[in-house]
Each structure stands twice: as structure tokens, then as C-alpha cells.
């Protein structure tokens, strides 16, 4: 489906470009060809379609066939290239058009029906400004009138896109384009100029910290592995992103897989690993396909395999498909899974950096951490150390979703306030009110409106009881019930707990039961039931603290975080559920109380017959009523009523 690199392009890259990749100087004709690969000047129109997991759901493939059909019908000569995602998920499918002599311009929400009108306009040199979202800046081309430039758009202006620079711009399946945009130069440079020790030092100086949630200094981890005297070391890239609501790594790989491959090769060189493994969930078919293609292309041009660029350093990268377990994000569990065992964490130390896969030193880094390395090597550790705050350097990618008015992938410099995330997402949808920002998935916390000025920082946030997590952010509005949300997270943890240590296995189960109990209407108000319910509520906080202090791995230790924070920030909501049995967002279905509108009820008796607890009374052919004490909130009456007379409050 893709415009992959042709044989000629691959051999051009291999023979003409790569020998001089380390200093970036080429003869004029090579430079001209590279410029053509960047599509700086085009002879015939190019149409770019953003194809990623997210946009495919929005219908990008249908749009692409519609475009091809259009070009066929009107015999227009144009190239159709597929690209990654700009991070503007709500505006997908995004189609960009580049006409000869004009700047590249992007259109949002291009459904197959709109293809004709948009392409008709663009090809004939007429665009309605309301259809387009932005255009690229170019000195040599004539801009379109009335359309903002990409760097002027508030969404892009607010961000610092270092890692996402190429996302949405280049074709992910083309190594030639990636190199034309400056890719693999860091690798060529380091392999010629630096020893592995130098790169390790550069990363230490830059102050890079792990992006997966633990925030451990990357350089320190590498140094530890380097200090073990052995010939075999492994590097594992953890791409098993499984936080519900986090899709940073997935979209990054799908949009710019070569950047990930370059990061892996460079980091493997730095820890002198003989083998690198990418651990990625089997479900992410498109992501696997793209990273595998990038690896194959790197082998083809000689950037991977035996004797890379004549340096004597050899490396193989293998893609291993994760069979799906949340706990495998934990380093020791991930190693167990690679060894063909159940993914159960073990006690540290020994750390994997000393005793990891097959007993060899193993460095495990998140995708986003590794992607930073080429930038640091290219621009120097001082450049990186100047970005961000005292303890947290560089940029961080966030995927913002939930009830935000636009779902997006953004990159911010450390030190920006948390509120910036809400601004970028465009706040909440019209007519709703903002409730909280949930950071870091099932082991994260919800941040209320008055905490939004806290800076994004690995050290500053924990002081305020907030943890940054791996970058998944959910915007919550007034339709969200906090009790239901933490119950959902606890349900997730309960399912994903590996079962090795008791606090996590039993604690998560018990905690789920307690939360389930308070979001349900008790069957009877007497004796045992009520006692159980209140005992649970009293125990909730203690249990959470026990789990936090005694669990073996990060999964159990952080699992009670959402509950503890929600109990602090949204205590009134919990109390409402417990004492008043009321859910203000009407999400807890069992707590709803139903009533019959006497104006609409015809007394047909249908609901009374269906009611499982005989809570509906009345005389036939006159309005019925519901006895609140007996109602269990099942909602059958509402489904049964043909006249729409049953409501809930």
C-alpha cells in the first residue's frame, strides 16, 4: 500500500549518501537528490495521507482509495504518499496536498465524500480557507492565502517538537526520506568519532532520565551494565505500551520508526550490546509492520548487521511480540517473558543491568528514552541539559484523550505547567465543566483544577503527591464519576496482577470489592450487608497503604495511588456514594433512582409486570409510581416503557 523505497533509492542511499553521512557534505548532485527526497520542489502534485492506527479507525484507508479513484477518474498525474500522524487525532483523516510551486497544505476530516471537492479546489489553485488547517512554511514557494502556517498554529506553537519533528511529515516506510531529513547522521558520527564510553559519558552529562515512568537516570543504568566484565550484553527496547489510554510510543513508532531504530543502534553501541530486542505487543499489527520494515531497510543499507559502517561493531535487532500482560512493563517481568516464562517480577537487586536476560547484563529502556539519544549526540549534551528544569531535562511526549475536546499527541519541554496539557487539548467539550486531569493510567493520579499550575517535572510533582507516569493523560469532565473511574482502574489491576505476592493479588481484589460495594445499592439494609459495606470503607485507606508499602513490584506499589489521591481530592463524591447512595454523574448504574412522570404514564402495567423487585405500584389505566426503597436501579422499567415516562435522577 505504501510508497516504499525503490531499489534505485536504496542503492543511492547505500553508495552515495552513507559514506559521507558523518559530516553531511555531499557532491551537488547528491544534495539535489536528497532535496528531491524532501519534496522541496515537485514536478507533479503530491498528496499525502496520514495513515496510523488511529486514523485508520477514522477511515483513512477509505479516503486513500477515494483519492486514488479520483486521480484515476480525472487522469491526474500525482503521487500518493502515506505519512504518519501530526498528533491531531481529532482532525483525522488528514490529507495534505503539495502542488508544484505552492506550499504544502493540510486538510482536516477528509472523508471520502469530501475528497472530490477538496482535490478539485487544490488542483485548480483555489482553496477555501475554512477547509484547510495549516500550510508548511517555505521560502521558495507561493503560500496559500488566508491559511495559517504550521508554526503559527497555536497547537504547534505551544509545543517543542524535537522528537516528533518528522511525525506526519515523512513517509514512515522510507529510509531514504528519513536520511534526507537528517536521520542516521548521529549514528554515523558517533560510530566514527566516539567510543562507546564517550557516548555513555555524553548521555550521563545530558541528564536524560527514563521516560517509562520510573525516571531512572539513563546514563547511570548504562554505566552499570558497562562495568560488568562480559562479552555478551543485551539492549531491550520496551515498546509494550499497555496503559489504557496511552498511545505515545505506538504513534511515535508508526510515524517515525527509523528514529526509534537509530536510537536503538546508538544505545546498543553505547552499552556495546551484541543484540537488541524490541518487545512490542502482538496486537499492534501496524506498529510491528512499520518497525520491522525499518529494521529490514537498515540491514539493507548496511546500518545494521555485521560490521556497521566498517567500525567492527556488529548488531542484530529482533522484534519480539509480547503476548499481552501489563506487568511485563516491569523490567524483570519483561525478561521472564522473553525467556519463555510467566511474566512475574523478581526481587531487585540483582538489577537487570547486572544480571538480566540469560544471566547477561541487560539494559532496558523505553522507546521514548531511546529516541532522545540521536538528538543528544547530534546537538551535544549541553544543548539537552539546557532544556527543561534542574532535575528533568529535555521534552516529554503526552497523549491526551478522555473527554478532551480534541484528542492529541503533544510534546512539551519539562517545566511547563500541567495546565498546558489542558490548553493543548482545547479544554473540555462545550457545555461541560472541567473536573480533573488524570495522569499516568491505572497507577496515576487525578489532578484537580487548582493543582494545574504545578510544573511538569520528575522531582517537583511527587512533592505535591502527583506522579507523572508514562505520558497518558485523560481529561475528566463532570460526566465522569470518580468512584467508577478508580473502580475501573482497580479492576484493571486485579486482572493484570501476576499473582506472585499477596498484597497485590489479594489487596487489589478486596479493594475492587469494596469499591463495587459502595457503587451498588445494598439488597437489604440490615445486619451483615451494611456491616460489610462500612467495614470496607473504613479499611479502604489502610488497605491502600499496606499495598503500597508491601508489594513486590511497581504494579502493586502504585496501584492504590489513584484511590488515595481521589479520596483526598474528591472525598465528597465518595461520601455521597456511601451515605446518600447517590452518583452525581449517574454513571454508577445501580445507584440511579427511577421515577415515573405522571403526565406521560398511561398505566399500561408493562413496567410493573417486568419489575424484578415489585417496586412499581398503581392502578391500571392511571399513573404508576415507584417505591424508592425497593428499587434496585436495574433500569428494566425504563427499557420496557413505550411512552418514555420513566426517568432517573
Amino acid at each position: 500500500m505504501a510508497r516504499c523505497d525503490s531499489k534505485a533509492e536504496i542503492s543511492f542511499i547505500k553508495d552515495a549518501v552513507i559514506p559521507n553521512l558523518h559530516d553531511g557534505t555531499w557532491p551537488t548532485e547528491v544534495s539535489a537528490k536528497l532535496s528531491a527526497l524532501r519534496h522541496e520542489r515537485v514536478r507533479q502534485p503530491i498528496i499525502y495521507v496520514g495513515v496510523t492506527t488511529s486514523s485508520i479507525v477514522a477511515g483513512a484507508l477509505k479516503t486513500r482509495s477515494a483519492i486514488e479513484q479520483y486521480l484515476d477518474d480525472y487522469s491526474v498525474d500525482a503521487d500518493v504518499i502515506f505519512v504518519g500522524s501530526h498528533g491531531l487525532c481529532s482532525l483525522e483523516p488528514i490529507v495534505e496536498v503539495q502542488m508544484p510551486g505552492r506550499t504544502r497544505v493540510a486538510f482536516a476530516n477528509v472523508t471520502p465524500e469530501r475528497v472530490n471537492s477538496i482535490l478539485d479546489g487544490a488542483i485548480n489553485g483555489f482553496i477555501q480557507p475554512e477547509n484547510a488547517i495549516f500550510q508548511y512554511y517555505s521560502e521558495i514557494h507561493e503560500p496559500w492565502h488566508g491559511i495559517p502556517f504550521k508554526n503559527e498554529l497555536p497547537f504547534f506553537k505551544r509545543q517543542n517538537r524535537v522528537l516528533l519533528k518528522n511525525a506526519g511529515v515523512i513517509c514512515p516506510d522510507s529510509i531514504a526520506e528519513y536520511i534526507a531529513y537528517g536521520g542516521y547522521s548521529a549514528l554515523a558520527k558517533s560510530i566514527r568519532k566516539y567510543t562507546y564510553d564517550d557516548i555513555c559519558r555524553i548521555v550521563e552529562e545530558s541528564g536524560l532520565r527514563g521516560r517509562g515512568g520510573g525516571a531512572f537516570p539513563t546514563g547511570t543504568k548504562w554505566r552499570k551494565a558497562l562495568q560488568v566484565a562480559t562479552s555478551d550484553r543485551y539492549l531491550i527496547c520496551n515498546a509494550d505500551e499497555s496503559d489504557p489510554g496511552g498511545f505515545m510510543d505506538r504513534l511515535l513508532i508508526e510515524s517515525d520508526p527509523h528514529r526509534v531504530v537509530e536510537g536503538i543502534i546508538l544505545s546498543s553501541y553505547a552499552v556495546s550490546a551484541s543484540k537488541a530486542i524490541i518487545y512490542i505487543r502482538d496486537r499492534y499489527k501496524i506498529t510491528i509492520q512499520r518497525i520491522q520494515n525499518a529494521i529490514d531497510q537498515a540491514y539493507e543499507v548496511g546500518l545494521l548487521g555485521y560490521d556497521i559502517l566498517g567500525s567492527g561493531y556488529s548488531l542484530d535487532i529482533e522484534v519480539r511480540k509480547g503476548p499481552g500482560a501489563y506487568v511485563c512493563g516491569e523490567e524483570t517481568a519483561l525478561i521472564k517473558s522473553l525467556e519463555g516464562k510467566r511474566g512475574m517480577p523478581s526481587i531487585k537487586p540483582p538489577y537487570p543491568a547486572e544480571f538480566g536476560l540469560n544471566g547477561k547484563p541487560t539494559v532496558i529502556n523505553n522507546v521514548e528514552t531511546l529516541v532522545n539519544i540521536p538528538q543528544i549526540v547530534n546537538n551535544g549534551p549541553e544543548w539537552f541539559a539546557a532544556l527543561g528544569t534542574e532535575g528533568s531535562k529535555g521534552t516529554k511526549i503526552f497523549s491526551i484523550n478522555g473527554q478532551a475536546s480534541q484528542t492529541c499527541l503533544v510534546e512539551l519541554t519539562f517545566g511547563e505547567p500541567l495546565g498546558a496539557l489542558l490548553d493543548l487539548a482545547g479544554g473540555v467539550k462545550d457545555g461541560r465543566t472541567f473536573k480533573a486531569l488524570h495522569l499516568g493510567g491505572p497507577s496515576g493520579v487525578s489532578v484537580t483544577a487548582d493543582e494545574l499550575d504545578a510544573p511538569i517535572d520528575f522531582d517537583e510533582l511527587p512533592k505535591r503527591g502527583i506522579s507523572l507516569g508514562s505520558g497518558g493523560v485523560q481529561v475528566l469532565d463532570n460526566t465522569v464519576c470518580m468512584v467508577d473511574l478508580v473502580k475501573y482502574f482497580m479492576h484493571f489491576i486485579r486482572n493484570e496482577s501476576c499473582g506472585k505476592c499477596i498484597p497485590c493479588r489479594e489487596g487489589s481484589n478486596r479493594m475492587y470489592q469494596i469499591l463495587d460495594n459502595i457503587s451498588k445499592r445494598p439488597v437489604s439494609n440490615e445486619g451483615h450487608n451494611t456491616l460489610e459495606r462500612f467495614k470496607g470503607v473504613i479499611q479502604l485507606e489502610t488497605l491502600a497503604e499496606v499495598m503500597r508499602d508491601t508489594s513486590l513490584c511497581g504494579l502493586g506499589q502504585t496501584a492504590p495511588k489513584p484511590i488515595l489521591k481521589a479520596l483526598k481530592s474528591f472525598r465528597d463524591e465518595f461520601e455521597e456514594h456511601i451515605f446518600d447512595r447517590k452518583c452525581r454523574a449517574s454513571v454508577c448504574r445501580d445507584l440511579r433512582t427511577f421515577y415515573i412522570d405522571i403526565e406521560r404514564c398511561t398505566g399500561c402495567t408493562a413496567c410493573a409486570k417486568k419489575c424484578p423487585t415489585q417496586a412499581i405500584y398503581g392502578t391500571p389505566r392511571s399513573p404508576y409510581f415507584i417505591v424508592e426503597e425497593r428499587c434496585i436501579g436495574c433500569g428494566i422499567c425504563q427499557d420496557t416503557c413505550k411512552f418514555g415516562a420513566v426517568f432517573f435522577k
Binding site: T52, T53, S54, I56, V57, A58, C89, S90, E92, S242, D243, P244, G245, G246, F247, R250, L251, D282, R283, Y284, R320, K321, P323, G324, A325, Y326, S337, L338, E339, G340, K341, R342, G343, S399, N401, G402, Q403, Q406, T407, H438, G441, G472, Q474, L476, T479, V480, L485, Y488, F492, C498, R589
Partner: protein, 154 residues
């Protein structure tokens, strides 16, 4: 080709058979047969020289491996945080009420099977479901009912 032959063929693809190739082998078998069964794990155990109980323990640990055959229409329902907030819960309730279908189960007539997954990466378009790899966005019980109706009529 019988199932046993298919499994033999997959096992032959792996030149080095150690415990670290166990997960890829099981993944390949599941891709080929749609689900794992007793025959498969016995054969794999014999080849890898591993107790069947160990393999069964591993396969039931991970979410991916299934021992129940997939239905004619395999429904993947996203229950990521975003889809959940947007109402994936009601779709699950609908399936449970109407088709008696819970996560990991197949209906008796073999028409539908359900797999609840966490996050398909399409958070803006939630709640998302996919049926036989065809995606549907912004699905509510009403829409779900229509989708299922269309599928049964085919």
C-alpha cells in the same frame, strides 16, 4: 491438512527449540488455528521437552492466548480509559444482556466471540469496536445492535 500437521509445520520453522521460543511458537499456532487446544500444547510440550502443565500455566497467564475457538464474528471491544469514559461499559452490558457474551467467550451457536482489549490507540473515536478487523467508531448500544443485525443477516 490436519491440525497436528499444521502444528508440526510450525514447529519445524524453529531451528533452535528452547524455552525462549515457546511464546513465539504458541503465537504462531494461535494465528494459524485461531485458538490453542489440548492437542497443540501436548505436541509443543513433547517437542520442547517441557511438561504440558507448564505450557498451560504460561498460556493462561497471558491475555493473548485463548482456549475457546473464535466465533464467526470476532468482536474486539476497546475498554481503554477513553472508550470507557465515553461509554464502552454500556456496550459490554448490552452484549452480556443480549448475547450472554462475556470477555473471552463465544456464543453457543458460534456466531460471535468477544475479546475486551485495553486501548486500541484510537481514543478520539471511542468507544471503538472491531469486528473481524473492521473498525467501527463511536459505537453505542443502538449502533452495536444494528452492526450485529447486519452481521447475522449476511
Amino acid at each position: 491438512m490436519s491440525n497436528a500437521e499444521k502444528i508440526e509445520e510450525i514447529l519445524e520453522r524453529y531451528s533452535y527449540l528452547g524455552s525462549d521460543s515457546l511464546i513465539p511458537i504458541l503465537q504462531d499456532i494461535q494465528n494459524e488455528l485461531g485458538s490453542l487446544n489440548e492437542e497443540a500444547i501436548v505436541l509443543v510440550g513433547r517437542k520442547l521437552n517441557m511438561p504440558t502443565s507448564k505450557i498451560y500455566g504460561l498460556a493462561t497467564f497471558y491475555n493473548q492466548f485463548k482456549f475457546e475457538a473464535k466465533g464467526k464474528n470476532h468482536i474486539c471491544l476497546c475498554n481503554g480509559t477513553s472508550c470507557r469514559l465515553k461509554g464502552a461499559k454500556w456496550n459490554m452490558v448490552y452484549l452480556e444482556d443480549n448475547l450472554k457474551l462475556k470477555n473471552g467467550q463465544t456464543t453457543r451457536n458460534g456466531q460471535f466471540s468477544l475479546e475486551v482489549v485495553t486501548c486500541m490507540g484510537a481514543c478520539d473515536h471511542g468507544p471503538v469496536i472491531s469486528v473481524n478487523d473492521e473498525y467501527y467508531r463511536e459505537v453505542d448500544p443502538e449502533k452495536l445492535k444494528n452492526i450485529l443485525n447486519d452481521l447475522t443477516q449476511e
